[in-house]
Amino acid sequence: MKQKAPKAKRTKAQKREAIWALCFIAPTIIGLIILNFYPAIDTLWQSFCKTGDFGKGNIFIGFENYAKVFVAEETWHSLWNTIKYALIEVPFGVVIALVLAVFLNKKLKGTSVFRTIFFLPMVCAPAAVAMVWKWLYNQQFGLLNNIFGTDIAWISDPKIAWISIGIIGVWSVIGYNMVLFISGLQEIPGDYYEAAEIDGATGIRQFFHITVPLLSPTTFFIVQTRIIGALTIFDLMFMVMDKTNLALENTQSIVYLFYTYAFTNGNKGYGATIVVFLVIFIMIVTFILQRVEKKLVYHP
């Protein structure tokens, strides 16, 4: 509210400055509008339409798509699959990454080598990662079954396929989380640890009473972005699960469902509705997370 009054009597120099500022951010703004805002609004519009071929002949049908999406059992099933995936990826991805980060933050020999190794999965194309894991998991010729001498249908058994998929997710995301944790750890002043040592606190006590609380803003940030990331998971299921895989029903994520409708079946309107449904769900989750933020995050 404060800026409003001086706005009317801007000096010439200020105006020029504002124009230049606009020019400098214009590429980003234009990019955002064309690549993000316009598609977002268009998606919302399409969700109310029975869409025609090639984006022509959209017919407005109100909430008809929504009624179908909300009633369809597969929508809720896919949402549940997505949540199950998030329940594996987020906690394990965060905890393992935190432990690794603490170890790699110490002044040991070869830390940078290990950091690079753990970060590598992040550099690989997700589709390539999924293809490699698909063959590791293969029941007949896969490395896993060969090494352990087992005969487990890792990705075709509906009971365990979702866990197998989750493991790939954890593996891919650990490096990224770890790097964020390391940067968070480096912000914690060393004096706390020195003081704790003088007081006779063990390493584990230090971890839970200094590292964990002081790292909580970073942890919260990671948890929040990973939840959103996990809820929009698609490529893993798409690459690993064959269309005729029995476990597909129990692993397909909500974005996979969207892909099936929008791109395989060419029903863009219904697909758009699924996306809006997902957006609403993510908004609710984010809202709840924001509420609990103050309670869980330690603000010194």
């Binding site: 598609p39 071929d53 929009t232 029995l246 993510i282």
Partner: protein, 439 residues
Amino acid sequence: MKKLAAIILAAMMTATALTACGGSGGSDGASKDSGSKSGTINVNIWDSNQQKGIQEIADKWTETSGVKVKVEVVDWDNYWTLLEAGASGGTMPDVFWMHSNTAQMYMENDVLLKLNDYIEKDKIDMSKYYEGVKNLYTRSDGNIYALPKDHDTIALLYNKAVFDKYGVEYPTDKWTWEDMYEAAKKITEDSNGDIYGMAMNTSNNQDGWYNLIYSYGGQVITDDHKGTTIGSDESKAGMEMMRKLLTVGAPQSVVAETGTDSLFQSGKVGMITQGSWMINSFFTAENHADYAWALLPYADRNGNGTCEKEERWSAYNGLGWAASAATKDPDSCASLIEYFCSEEGQKLQAEKGVTMGGMTGVSDAFANAFEGMDIKPFLDAENYSLYFRPYTRKTTVWEDALQQAGAFLDPWQKPDDAALMAKACDNAQKIIEDAIAAE
């Protein structure tokens, strides 16, 4: 509160970016193609096996026309995303393939170049092309949007090494589906399940179980493309035979993970059925000397012990050469298409082993294109009955549903349960009828 708003916005953008990616990715690719310098025609296809041959034929056309042709391969999934994005307002490649899955949608929306005037002017005899392929690319008002490029048929592929090892006689043209069952049974049982006599997935439809339905007198899609008899007694008899084969074949969990082609090539399976478009991939495989083709088995419905014409059925499908309605140089595009589909172009295509022709009587040379591998069964299939690959306006909707749970995936899981297969046929009848009604 401001922070909350920002995060919600961010969340929304992540989710909607999914749609954005699809759209923008496509148009990026398309705009790359539209950089057509005057004098170059961009051709898009999806099969890298054919790229070399097609480019050579196109170069031959360039010799007389002086217009350069650039053949680019885009894999099947991206091909359709790209083409659709191009048709929705971007730029399409100049000349490209059409397929029965989507042809009707493209033809109805006038995004393809109408070829009637060119056909009339250059006096092209449309009766020389395969009927089903020709009809597919002709709209109900008589407008023609693509010329038939090729046709494909289905045959039985078997591994001689496996047959020799278990002392089973090779498939012959006298084989019924029952004979196939007996052979598969012997291989599976004698190897104690180490090697499977046959393998077929629910996704092997055109190249697999569709052919059983037709052999036994059913139809997946009726001739008018408005209905199905997949729930009829004839179809059920075909699928009952299929079920029997599955009891001695590779289990569903195996074929869903590894794929029938990979299983076959690793020597784990004695027989699969495959289409002629896959010949090259088996011809170039490591153990190709062991592989041989045979006619698809038949169903001896009248029980006289010989194969009548209407007892052996193979699916056939054909691609079409189409051009964009918005191309800068429609005359050259039409001329290129006409050359591809002329007798000369079609014979070249067969000689080079690219595919069999869309024109009748030009494919004999194709049989000799694969030295050391006898692929005559694909040509012999035409002496019996052919049906055009079942399609409707939105084929993928029901085609995908048939492969999954709620349809044929259920009996594929438990092939011992005969009632389950019959029920799946009834479910399939409903799935197809509902899908057609929603088109």
